[in-house]
């Protein structure tokens, strides 16, 4: 299973963390510090796996961002590597050639999308199309609620004029 997902920028800034195993706040900070140290210093032509504390961290760099997923030692590494890519492709489709800035200002979207992709540290949906459909349905729900609210506030505003 995937124990956690981290998105870390090349400068060591954290862009997303998602923990599927119970880590305390302290442990989370420690993991982040340790792994940034290990992963960000790795050269470009090395393999995508790092052995760490009896686990394996599968990571891949996309432009300035490192996507990391921590798995058990006997899990299938390449499978997880492609989950990362799957996620990136979905983000790319959603934002239209995604860049780090998109994920900084829309970090909540990155979380929504991740939740459609993984639950309990396991892949729930292998189809990009389906994920995209579900996310846009969610967006519509939010939009609809907003319109409703603004129309109500319009009415109130008009009434109180």
């Amino acid at each position: 299973m995937i124990h956690f997902v981290l998105l870390i920028s090349r400068q060591g800034k954290v862009r997303l963390t998602k923990w599927y195993s119970p880590y305390t706040q302290k442990e989370r900070t420690k993991v982040l510090r340790e792994l940034s140290g290990v992963i960000l210093t790795r050269g470009p032509k090395l393999c995508n796996f790092v052995e760490w504390r009896g686990y394996k961290v599968v990571y891949k760099r996309y432009a300035s961002l490192y996507f990391c997923m921590c798995i058990d030692q006997e899990d299938n590494e390449l499978e997880v590597l492609e989950i990362i890519h799957h996620y990136v492709e979905i983000l790319d489709r959603y934002f239209g050639s995604v860049c780090e800035l998109d994920l900084i200002f829309n970090f909540h979207k990155a979380y929504y999308i991740l939740d459609e992709l993984l639950i309990a540290g396991e892949l729930q949906e292998p189809s990009k199309k389906t994920v995209a459909r579900l996310i846009s349905a969610q967006d519509q729900l939010v939009e609809a609620a907003k319109e409703q609210r603004s129309s109500i506030s319009n009415i109130i505003a008009q009434a109180t004029k």
Binding site: L16, T17, L78, L81, Y111, D115, Q124, S127, L134, K146
Partner: protein, 1016 residues
């Protein structure tokens, strides 16, 4: 793309990004936190929108790494908001900020449940996602049935059901009982017919967890998994959107093959054939392509297929194909594939007898040890370690030593440990071993723990031939300008003990040795100073007649340290000074160290370390565990290795039985001193026979028999008693086949373990009876060899192969037993120390043309040296408390043969453990006491407490206490062996609830490397 509608948040994020340094950022964050805090204080004035915004800000600040110790309540409270946008934020932020142990989550449990059972599909999804990500035990208990309903409901859409599947997986991990309900296995099998691939993928993940826990219940899912795999990999019957770079859902393929690896075997020939067809297709049809993602995905499938093939123990041809593939992979440039090739090759080592093919790649693997990538180097190191045996040990260890000088610190410790273990395990000669360890200390002294150099000292002390060599080597290292302190310690020790053996060599006079060691004194720590003082005393002692000048020098040093602040040093200085003035008496006091006895603490520690709860073992770990002993035996046994009898390094060189001298030491010593160990097996392979019994898997493969037969017995073997039981009799070659034993030998042996007279073995020609008397740590057995025939039995031979802990002496056995006659052969036994090993009687005779040879376990077992003693409550509790230190052994035993408490009490009484009723207030518990006798422990009180669980008779908790850790451990294991249900005859392919650490005691016993590892 700006954050739609939440300007405040966007502005905050921009502000943070514009901060010039960490200090500014902190100020900005603090300001925002203060703001959020005040707003939350006045919660009533907050609109849902504002609340949402602040909660997101909190998450953002939290992600930046700041402590956010408030506002959790607000996040959780958003979950119960009526509108989707607020609820969504509540669920997601809660799942990110809190973990399953957080108290606030409890508050939400009702709302979450209402969302799950409610009609709103989008709410259901949100709730299932959160529970799936951070649900804990409490969620499992209150929500599992609802989630199960959603998963199998026909009215729910796939988007809900796939989330329900993974949510249930989470709950199952938190509490397996909530899912293991009647009928669920059938439902699970039905779920695998699902056409929606999202639901199927999620369900497959759930199935993997379920079968890992209990594959028995899910047999009906097995053919469905194979069908799914056929559908994907063969028929490619899958909607376009579920192919990934042209590959039919690689994730589902991988998951399906993973699930299949938890079934011990596939019995149905049609299913098996179908599966192998698919696997063959995957193995053959995966090509390297340009597109990285396609390549990764297809290789993810390929590596999983490899693992499945290994697990299923396919035919040799397919295995060689796999090794060939791996051989190709470890040579490619793509680092991921190379890494995985190495990793899987290591797994391959555990599984099959393909070592020879793997050895062909040794050069390539060594290249990977120099790879720029540490991940790959680690894999290469692991693989080299695993594939090392006597044929290639020299090369491999030398490579490791060479690499040690350049390796980064992160790897040196592991590297030096591995090198030390291999050097010990496979040393072709002892001087090489000494060389290796000294080099290790020289190159990586910081990473060589004391245990390693202690070990060298033990070997050198116990092997006279080695002493001059080791001393000379130590002397050479002292000439180096800067040496590691550990080197100072070991050199000083060796030169103190054996330096006088070099006296005639240049530069090695006592004076010279003294002065070169003394040069190091100012730079070393106080522990080393005390070793040096001992060395000086030894040098003085060896310098006869005394050299006044040297004597004065050393006395001056003693004199100086007599006032040292360190008590240890002071004491040594005072004592050595006083003793060295005694002249000739010094020779007696400071004579050479006697040979070292066995060091068992390492073994125990090792055993303890592996004593883990095996419930959650994954397929691979489980497999590895099953295979450990086979790997061990295979390396030890292969005649191809050149030296069939002795592949391990013993502490003492003894003509025979040397492969496990390591723990034989004390009685070997005895045998040298007074020659009482009269029976020494004349045949050279005897060492292997003894090893065989300790390493369960070799039992069917004595050295003369076909090595090919071994792999067949590999699957399904989990523990030593099991294996030994099934095959207590060992046919040698084919000669024994014509005479079959009467009755079950294993049963006879077990009966005799509980009583003192009876039949040990019977066949149409002979009956061997046994009668035993026991007194404290001694015993006297009489073997009654009765010829049942009207013709004589000739060439009768009875040889005892005693384990190290017993001293056994068998009186002469006549070569011929006349017709219808009975011969009595007394056998004296002395128990030296606690152990569960079993003595073996190697018995052979000839009748007519039949040559019969059987190896029988003798009922000289641990409980024979027990003497039940009643203990009253007044005596028991103080004893129990006084023993509750580290030697106390507590263990949960699973897989117990269910039996009523009364029967268990009887069993314990039969084992001479006196059950003291009424001591434990809980009627489900048993308390027993006994005293154990051996030469080393004398009479030793042992207390046992067994706590049974009336709800589950197959498990219990056992606590054993005694004054001796070895005894405690052995007694615990012994009782455990008696209690667990061992499938004796039907060796069904069920890795039944494994007895915790089934193989490790065996491995540890026979394997000095393992002992060494345990030390560290």
């Amino acid at each position: 793309m700006a954050l739609s509608g939440m300007r405040g948040l966007s502005v905050f994020i921009s502000d943070i990004r514009n901060c010039q340094n960490k200090e500014q950022e902190r100020l900005r964050v603090d300001k925002e936190l203060g703001n959020v805090r005040t707003r939350f204080k006045n919660e009533k004035g907050l609109s849902p929108y504002e609340k949402k915004k602040y909660v997101w800000k909190m998450l953002y600040i939290y992600m930046l790494g700041y402590d956010v110790d408030f506002g959790h309540m607000e996040a959780v409270s958003l979950i119960s908001a009526p509108k989707y946008p607020e609820k969504q934020v509540g669920y997601i932020v809660t799942a990110c900020l809190l973990n399953e142990n957080h108290d606030f989550l409890r508050l939400a449990i009702n709302t979450v449940r209402n969302d799950i059972i409610g009609r709103n599909e989008t709410f259901q999804c949100l709730a299932l996602t959160m529970v799936g990500n951070i649900g804990g035990r409490e969620f499992a208990e209150s929500l599992a049935p609802d989630v199960q309903k959603l998963l199998i409901s026909s009215s729910c859409r796939p988007l809900v059901r796939k989330k329900a599947a993974l949510c249930l997986l989470r709950l199952f991990r938190k509490n397996p009982d909530v899912v293991n309900v009647d009928g669920w296995a059938d439902r699970m099998a039905q779920l695998l017919d699902e056409r929606d691939l999202g639901v199927l993928t999620s369900s497959m993940s759930l199935l993997v967890a379920l079968v890992a826990n209990n594959h028995e219940a899910y047999w009906s899912s097995l053919p469905k998994c194979v069908k799914t795999l056929e559908r994907l990999a063969r028929n490619q019957d899958i909607p376009q959107e579920y192919t990934y770079y042209g590959i039919p859902s690689p994730w589902l393929q991988v998951k399906t093959m993973r699930a299949l690896q938890y079934f011990p075997t596939i019995e149905d020939p049609n299913t098996r054939r179908a599966l192998f067809e698919v696997l063959q297709r995957i193995l053959m049809g995966t090509d390297v392509v340009k597109n990285v993602n396609k390549n990764n995905a297809s290789h993810a499938v390929l590596f999983e297929a490899l693992a499945l093939v290994m697990h299923l123990d396919a035919e040799k041809e397919m295995m060689s194909q796999c090794v060939a593939l791996l051989g190709k992979f470890i040579a490619v440039r793509e680092p991921n594939i190379r890494y995985l090739g190495l990793e899987n090759m290591s797994r391959m080592l555990l599984v099959t007898d393909v070592q020879d093919i793997i050895k062909r790649h040794q050069a390539q693997i060594i290249t990977s040890l120099k790879d720029p990538d540490i991940s790959i180097r680690r894999r290469a190191l692991d693989l080299l370690y695993g594939m090392c045996d006597i044929t290639n040990a020299k090369d491999i260890v030398e490579e490791l030593l060479q690499y040690l000088s350049t390796a980064e610190f992160a790897m040196r410790e592991e590297l030096s440990l591995k090198a030390a273990i291999l050097a010990e395990k496979f040393a072709p000669d002892l001087s090489w071993y000494v060389d290796v360890i000294l080099q290790l200390i020289d190159k990586a002294g910081d990473f060589v723990s004391d245990d390693i150099w202690f070990r060298v000292v033990q070997f050198v002390t116990n092997n006279e031939d080695l002493q001059p060599y080791a001393a000379a080597k130590a002397r050479e290292y002292l000439d180096k300008p800067a040496i590691h302190e550990t080197m100072v310690k070991v050199s000083a020790y060796l030169l103190g003990e054996f330096g006088h053996l070099l006296a005639r060599r240049p530069g090695c006079s006592p004076k010279e040795i003294f002065s070169i060691i003394h040069e190091k004194l100012p730079t070393v720590s106080s522990f080393t100073v005390s070793i040096l003082l001992s060395t000086y005393a030894k040098i003085l002692m060896h310098t006869q007649p005394p050299d006044p000048e040297l004597q004065n020098q050393i006395w001056a040093i003693f004199n100086k340290y007599e006032s040292c602040i360190d008590a240890e040093i002071q004491q040594r200085a005072v004592e050595y000074h006083a003793m060295s003035r005694k002249g000739a008496a010094l020779m007696d006091i400071l004579a050479e160290m006697p040979k070292f006895p066995e060091r068992q603490s390492a073994l125990i520690k090792k055993a303890e370390d592996t004593e883990v709860d095996t419930a959650e073992l994954s397929a691979i770990r489980l497999r590895a565990q099953q295979q450990t002993s086979s790997a061990l035996v295979v390396t030890d046994q292969r005649p191809a290795n050149g030296t069939p009898s002795n592949t391990q390094l013993g502490l003492v060189k003894i003509p025979s039985m040397s492969s496990n001298v390591d723990h034989n030491l004390p009685d070997q010593d005895i045998s040298h001193e007074n020659g009482t160990l009269s029976i020494v097996d004349p045949q050279p392979p005897s060492a292997d026979l003894l090893v065989d019994l300790l390493g369960p898997l070799a039992i069917e493969g004595p050295p003369s028999s076909d090595v090919q037969s071994q792999p067949n017995i590999v699957p399904g073997f989990e523990d030593a008693p099991n294996a030994a039981e099934a095959t207590a009799i060992v046919p040698v070659g084919e000669q024994a086949n014509s005479v079959q034993p009467i009755g079950n030998i294993a049963e006879r042996f077990h009966a005799l373990c509980l009583k003192d007279s009876g039949v040990l073995y019977e066949d149409p020609n002979i009956q061997i009876g046994i009668k035993a008397e026991w007194r404290a740590h001694q015993g006297r057995l009489v073997l009654f060899l009765g010829n049942k025939n009207t013709g004589p039995l000739v060439s009768v031979q009875a040889i005892i192969l005693p384990p190290s802990y017993l001293k056994m002496e068998l009186s002469l056995v006549p070569e011929t037993i006349p017709p219808r006659a009975q011969v009595q052969c007394p056998l004296e036994v002395v128990n030296l120390r606690p152990s569960r090993d079993v003595a073996v009687l190697d018995f052979s005779y000839k009748f007519g043309i039949d040559m019969v040879n059987v190896k029988l376990r003798l009922p000289v077992v641990l409980n024979k040296f027990l003497q039940p003693i009643p203990v009253s409550a007044e005596e028991f509790f103080p004893q129990w408390r006084s023993l509750s230190g580290p030697p106390l052994k507590l263990q949960v035993v699973r897989g117990v043969r269910p039996m009523p408490l009364l029967d268990m009490a009887n069993l314990l009484n039969n084992l001479r453990l006196m059950v003291c009723s009424g001591l434990d207030p809980n009627p489900n518990n048993l308390v027993a006491s006994t005293s154990f006798y051996s030469e080393s422990t004398r009479a030793m009180l042992c207390l046992v407490r067994i706590e049974t669980d009336p709800a589950d008779r197959t498990q219990l908790r056992m606590t054993v206490a005694s004054g001796d850790p070895t005894l405690t451990f052995e007694l615990k294991e012994f009782i455990k062996e008696q209690l667990v249900s061992i499938p004796t005859v039907s060796r069904a392919p069920t890795p039944a609830p494994p007895v915790p650490q089934p193989t490790s005691p065996v491995a540890a016993l026979t394997d000095p490397g393992a002992m060494l590892a345990g030390l560290l």
